[in-house]
Amino acid sequence: MSSEITDDILLDIHRRMVRIRTFEERAGKMMEDGKIPGALHLYVGQEAVASGVMVHLSDQDYITSTHRGHGHLIAKGGEFTYMFAELYGKATGYCKGKGGSMHISNLDLGMLGANGIVGGGPPIAMGAAFSCKFRKTSNVSISFFGDGASNEGAFHEAANMAALYKLPCVFVCENNGYGEYTPQANHQAIVDVADRAPGYGMPGVVVDGMDPIAVHEAAGEAIARAREGGGPTLLECKTYRYYDHVGVRGMGLSYRTDEEVEQWRLKDPIVNFEARLAEQGVLTPEAAEAVHEAARKDVDAGIEFAEASPNPDPAAVTEDVYA
């Protein structure tokens, strides 16, 4: 499959990764500066996963996300204006300020929400996959979740049902090595979450989640199989979050070493990808910088939009509870 990857796709993946990184760096700063209320779970470090998967999808394909959900929405086509407005809690946000970071969503883009409940998403993704099949479409549904969520019963139930019904579903485990602050070795006895796949009757694949081409290739195979009626796949992407579970500096808990973070940063998905694309003559450093600059401008415009936007009418608190 990797031989089929075109320059356009490579550049598309790069652009999505840069947009995520740029958005998240600024959003984290805004939160720590007190401009954005609540808690942000930043996606920095994991960009290759969302980008490598999402480049295969259309707006009619569905995803469910996690508490670390901005990256998924950005890679799915989310606009920075409405995203920042949502993070600010403004009336113009994707969710009119009622969801915030942990529930940011856009059904028009097939994005069925970030989710504050670890393991809340897989059953919903499985349901959306059922819907794709029931309505006789060729669309797929992707469940993003973490190594922590792989220990939730909800994941197990969803995986079993998706395999049982041969649903067009891909379970993308972003194994970043930690369930909140607990290292993987302290929360499960296995190293590869994908080892569980045969127990559900589906293929399990492990890829380097810091390598967008590896993610793209494995996701492409899994998504093609799902579209063709071959059922679900458990795709585990080994990745890492650079920042804390919440925010940038977070709560300053001593659960991992600076050395460990530095080792993972050497595998940075964007830096290494840009070097590779430069070597292949696909993207010059100048062209790469132009992508970063465009993303920064979009972030500036997004923040400007959010800050200029009205707050929700306080009376809207009880609106949108029922249809």
Partner: protein, 332 residues
């Protein structure tokens, strides 16, 4: 001589449920039935008998014993254009799927700023009286009435069972239809054609002038029996079947209490923290000056549902308990 009226068709409660489900499946091509034992077996209570044969395995299918997965399937399918009918065999099993009910199904529309629609109908069986003990007998409506975003209805007659199921499935919100296992064989008139029982409208099932009993679910029948006994004490009780707990028809309750000046709430669930407390509170908020006595509450004692028929008979409220409580309340 007037023409003799043709006797209205009578159906058992279980058959009325089945007819409601069939009606929904006929009128809504995006509807499907998913749950444990609903397809091949026709449901453990039999109200899905024939549904698989009529609508086929794509629209009626058995699930693993995975309540969180089943409700999650409903959430994901509804958010993307389907109208699922989800069976949660016993209401007691809601503990297994409470995250999908409470944190996903109930809240998704609100969290998404009104940009999601979740037309999910959940059918679930409640009620004690069959010696099924603590984990297959509960009435847990208070759990789900506390969750904004859900509608909750309870059917106490065959007529209401069919009509409420059709209303629930036509509603664009998640609706949980709470059924009662002790009523399955109960007969009652049920029109053959599709009809709805409006969600959010209480039903005055017995008119009265100087006492109001507010009830829902199977306890409505005990309240009616109690009302007959209370006649001998000079009490002319009005009996209100709420039918819909969420939304709650407060206006009907308050209007009745302002007329009768004395009220009692009766439900099968544990009294402490039960839905009756909400009704009593609303009455004192909206009709305090009309009350001649404190609002009485009858419910189950503060214990799990027991197994032994002797213990269970002492657990589930009945007409005698309602009458005794009324006497105490009124100093008779």
């Amino acid at each position: 001589m007037a023409e003799p009226q043709p006797k209205p068709r009578e159906l058992a409660y279980v058959a009325a449920i089945a007819e409601g489900v069939r009606t929904v499946m006929q009128e809504q091509p995006d509807a499907f039935v998913a749950g444990e034992d609903v397809a091949e077996a026709g449901g453990v209570y039999g109200y899905y008998n024939g549904i698989l044969k009529e609508f086929g395995p794509e629209r009626v299918f058995d699930t693993p014993i995975s309540e969180e997965g089943i409700v999650g399937l409903g959430v994901g399918a509804a958010a993307t254009g389907c109208r699922p009918i989800i069976d949660v065999m016993f209401m007691d099993f809601m503990g297994e799927c409470m995250d999908e009910i409470a944190n996903q199904l109930a809240k998704m529309r609100y969290m998404f700023g009104g940009r999601a629609t979740l037309p999910v109908t959940i059918l679930s069986m409640a009620g004690a009286g069959a010696s099924l003990a603590a984990q297959h007998s509960q009435s847990l409506e208070a759990w789900i009435c506390h969750l904004p975003g859900l509608k909750v209805v309870m059917a106490c007659t065959p007529y209401d069972a069919k009509g409420l199921i059709i209303s629930a499935a036509r509603d664009d919100n998640p609706v949980i239809v709470v059924l009662n296992k002790m009523s399955l064989a109960m007969m009652g008139p049920v029109p053959e054609e599709p009809y709805t029982v409006p969600i959010g409208e209480a039903n005055v099932v017995r008119g009265g002038s100087n006492y109001t009993i507010i009830s829902f679910g199977r306890m409505v029948h005990e309240a009616l029996a109690a009302a007959t006994q209370l006649e001998e004490l000079g009490i002319d009780a009005e009996v209100i079947d709420l039918r819909s707990l969420q939304p709650l028809d407060s206006a009907a309750v308050v209007a009745s209490v302002r007329k009768t000046h004395r009220a009692m709430v009766v439900h099968e669930a544990v009294r402490f923290g039960g839905f009756g407390g909400e009704i009593a509170a609303q009455i004192q908020e909206q009709a305090f000056d009309y009350l001649d006595a404190p609002v009485a509450r009858v419910g189950a004692p503060f214990s799990p549902v027991p197994f032994s028929p002797v213990l269970e008979a002492n657990y589930v409220p009945n007409a005698d308990r309602i009458v005794a409580e009324a006497k105490q309340q009124l100093g008779l």
